[in-house]
C-alpha cells in the first residue's frame, strides 16, 4: 500500500516536472510514469475495495510466473499464433491479388463489389458456428475465422488503393506503352503498396482481436481458451489478467513486426507525403 502511494506520488511529481526534461528523456520517462501510476492505482483500488477475487498487480506477476512454469502457456501461444499466421497469410495471398483486379477493372468491380460490401459487415464471430460445422473444433476453424476477419480489410483496402491511383501516373504509364501485366507490376502494385501495407496492418490487428474471441467460444486451445479455462477452473482471475496482458504484448509485437514493411524506399513515399 505504502509502496503504491509512494509510486503514485513519485510518478505524479515526474509528470509535473516533465517540461524541464529533454525530448529524448520525455520519450521514455512519460510513458513509464503513466504506467507506474496506473499500476499503483490498480494496487490501491484492490486494497481499498478488499476484493478476494480480483488480483493485485503482485498476484498477477505470480500468476505470470505460474503460467510460464506450467509449460502449457507456450502451447496456447503457439496455437493462437499458428491460426493467426496461416489465416492472415491466406487472406493476404487471396485478398491482395483479388483487390488489385477488382480495383483496376471497372466491370469486375461492378460485379463483385456489392457482394464484398455485403459480406464485410458480418462479424467473424457470427461465423463461429459455421466454422465449427465445417472444420470441427480446432485449428481449421481458427484459420478459417482469421482468414475471414483479415480477408475483407485486405481486399477492400487494396481495392481502394488501386482506385486511388492518380490519373497522371496512369497516363504516364500509358504514354510510355506500359500495359497489361507490366502495368500491374510497374504501376498498379507499387502505387497501391503503401495503402496495401496499411490494410495488412489493420487486418492483423483485427485478426489478433478475433482469435481470442473465437478461442473463448469454440476452441480448446489458444490464449482465448486459456482465459476461459482459468475462470472456469476456480475463478483464477489472476491467470485471466496475466493472460490478457500477454495478449496485449503479443499484439504490440505483431504490429511492430508488420510496421517493418513501411520503411522500404519503394513505399516510404506513401507515408510521408500526401
Amino acid at each position: 500500500m505504502i509502496v503504491s502511494i509512494l509510486a503514485l506520488v513519485a510518478s505524479a511529481a515526474v509528470l509535473f516536472y516533465a517540461k524541464r526534461m529533454s525530448a529524448h528523456v520525455q520519450e521514455w520517462a512519460l510513458p513509464v510514469c503513466v504506467a507506474a501510476g496506473l499500476i499503483a492505482l490498480w494496487d490501491i483500488a484492490c486494497i481499498v475495495s478488499g476484493s478476494e477475487v480480483f488480483p493485485s498487480p503482485l498476484d498477477t506477476v505470480y500468476a505470470f510466473r505460474e503460467l510460464i512454469e506450467s509449460q502449457r502457456l507456450w502451447g496456447d501461444v503457439a496455437a493462437s499464433l499458428f491460426r493467426v499466421t496461416w489465416g492472415f497469410l491466406l487472406a493476404a495471398g487471396i485478398g491482395i491479388p483479388l483487390g488489385l483486379v477488382v480495383g483496376w477493372s471497372t466491370r469486375t468491380f461492378r460485379a463483385l463489389n456489392p457482394i464484398i460490401q455485403g459480406l464485410r459487415p458480418i462479424s467473424p464471430i457470427a461465423w463461429i458456428p459455421i466454422a465449427i460445422l465445417w472444420f470441427g473444433i480446432g485449428d481449421g476453424a481458427g484459420v478459417f475465422l482469421i482468414f475471414l476477419s483479415s480477408f475483407f480489410p485486405i481486399t477492400v483496402g487494396t481495392m481502394a488503393a488501386v482506385r486511388n491511383i492518380s490519373l497522371v501516373h496512369q497516363r504516364s504509364a500509358l504514354n510510355f506503352g506500359v500495359r497489361r501485366f507490366e502495368l500491374f507490376r510497374r504501376v498498379v502494385l507499387p502505387a497501391a503498396l503503401p495503402q496495401i501495407i496499411t490494410s495488412l496492418r489493420i487486418a492483423l490487428g483485427v485478426a489478433w482481436l478475433v482469435i481470442v474471441a473465437a478461442e473463448m467460444v469454440g476452441m480448446d486451445t489458444g490464449l482465448g481458451y486459456l482465459i476461459n479455462d482459468a475462470r472456469n477452473a476456480g475463478s483464477r482471475y489472476d491467470l485471466v489478467v496475466a493472460t490478457m496482458i500477454l495478449i496485449g504484448l503479443i499484439g504490440i509485437l505483431l504490429d511492430f513486426l508488420i510496421r517493418r514493411l513501411e520503411v522500404f524506399d519503394e513505399v516510404r513515399w506513401g507515408y510521408t507525403q500526401r
Binding site: V168, S172, D265, E266, W269, Q273
Partner: protein, 258 residues
C-alpha cells in the same frame, strides 16, 4: 539567315477543326470550338490563355489521352488516336513514379533496350538536365524543381519528336521556374523537338515561344497567334519585349498596369 540554307518548315502537328464538348450535369458544355492550328517541325509553340479556356484539353487530345468531339489532330499526317512514346507528355503534377528511383523513372520509356543502351541514354539525359549524382535517389528526397527535371529527363530519354508540356513549371517557385526555362531552351536548341507548351503565364510564353497561340475562353477559341521574332537570349527588359507583352495582355483582356 538566307532561305536557301534553311530547310522549308515541315508541318508536324496539324489541328483541323478540333472541337470538344463535355457533358456537365446532362448539359453539353463546349470547351473547344473549331481549332485550326499547324505547328511546324522543331517549333516551340506556347498555348496561352486563362484557366478553363480548353488549352489543356487541346493538349490532351494531341497527346492521345482524349478524343475530340469533332475534327482531328494529325502528327506527320497520321491521326492521333492513342498515346505513343514518340510523343511525350510532361505533366504539371509530378508524373514521375514516387516508388521508383530517379534511374528507374528515367529508364521507363527505354526499358526494352539493351542494358548498355539504357546506361548510355540515361547517363546522357541525366547530364542534360543536371541531375548527375542523384540516380539512386527517390523522388521524395528531391526538391520540386529536381522532380520536374527527372520528368523532363524521362521524356527526353525516348528521343521524342514532340513534347507536350502542360504547365510543367506551374508548381515551382519563380526562381526555379526561370532556371528551368533557360535549361529547357538549351535542351530544345540541342535536340530540336517540336514543343507544345501550355501556360497561363504571359512572361513564360514570351520567354520560351517562337509563336504564342492566345486563347479566349468559353468555348476555347484561338484569339490570335502572336509571333515572337526575337532571338535567344531575349532581352526581357527591352522595348520590343514590352510591346509584344502589352499586345498579349490586351488579347487576354486584362490590364497590364497595376
Amino acid at each position: 539567315m538566307s532561305s536557301s540554307k534553311r530547310k522549308a518548315p515541315q508541318p508536324k502537328v496539324v489541328f483541323e477543326g478540333v472541337s470538344k464538348t463535355f457533358k456537365k450535369k446532362g448539359e453539353p458544355l463546349e470547351v473547344l470550338s473549331a481549332i485550326d492550328l499547324t505547328v511546324d517541325e522543331g517549333e516551340f509553340v506556347c498555348l496561352l490563355g486563362p484557366s478553363g479556356c480548353g488549352k489543356s484539353t487541346l493538349l490532351n487530345i494531341a497527346g492521345g489521352f482524349e478524343r475530340p468531339t469533332r475534327g482531328s489532330v494529325k502528327i506527320d499526317g497520321a491521326e492521333i488516336v492513342a498515346p505513343s512514346s514518340k510523343r511525350v507528355f510532361v505533366f504539371q503534377e509530378y508524373g514521375i513514379f514516387p516508388w521508383a528511383s530517379v534511374w528507374d523513372n528515367v529508364v521507363l520509356g527505354i526499358r526494352h533496350k539493351s542494358k548498355a543502351e539504357q546506361h548510355r541514354i540515361v547517363g546522357e539525359v541525366i547530364e542534360l538536365v543536371g541531375l548527375e549524382g542523384f540516380e539512386r535517389a527517390y523522388p521524395m528526397e528531391l526538391s520540386g524543381g529536381m522532380k520536374q527535371r527527372v520528368e523532363v529527363a524521362r521524356a527526353l530519354a525516348v528521343e521524342p519528336d514532340v513534347l507536350f508540356m502542360d504547365e510543367p513549371f506551374g508548381a515551382l517557385d519563380s526562381l526555379t521556374r526561370l532556371t528551368l526555362r533557360t535549361e529547357l531552351l538549351r535542351i530544345w536548341n540541342e535536340r530540336k523537338p517540336t514543343i507544345l507548351f501550355v501556360t497561363h503565364d504571359v512572361d513564360e510564353a514570351m520567354q520560351l515561344a517562337e509563336r504564342i497561340v492566345v486563347f479566349s475562353a468559353r468555348p476555347g477559341r484561338i484569339a490570335e497567334i502572336v509571333s515572337v521574332d526575337m532571338p535567344h537570349p531575349r532581352d526581357i527588359g527591352g522595348v520590343e519585349y514590352g510591346n509584344i507583352k502589352n499586345r498579349l495582355y490586351e488579347l487576354l483582356g486584362v490590364t497590364h498596369m497595376i
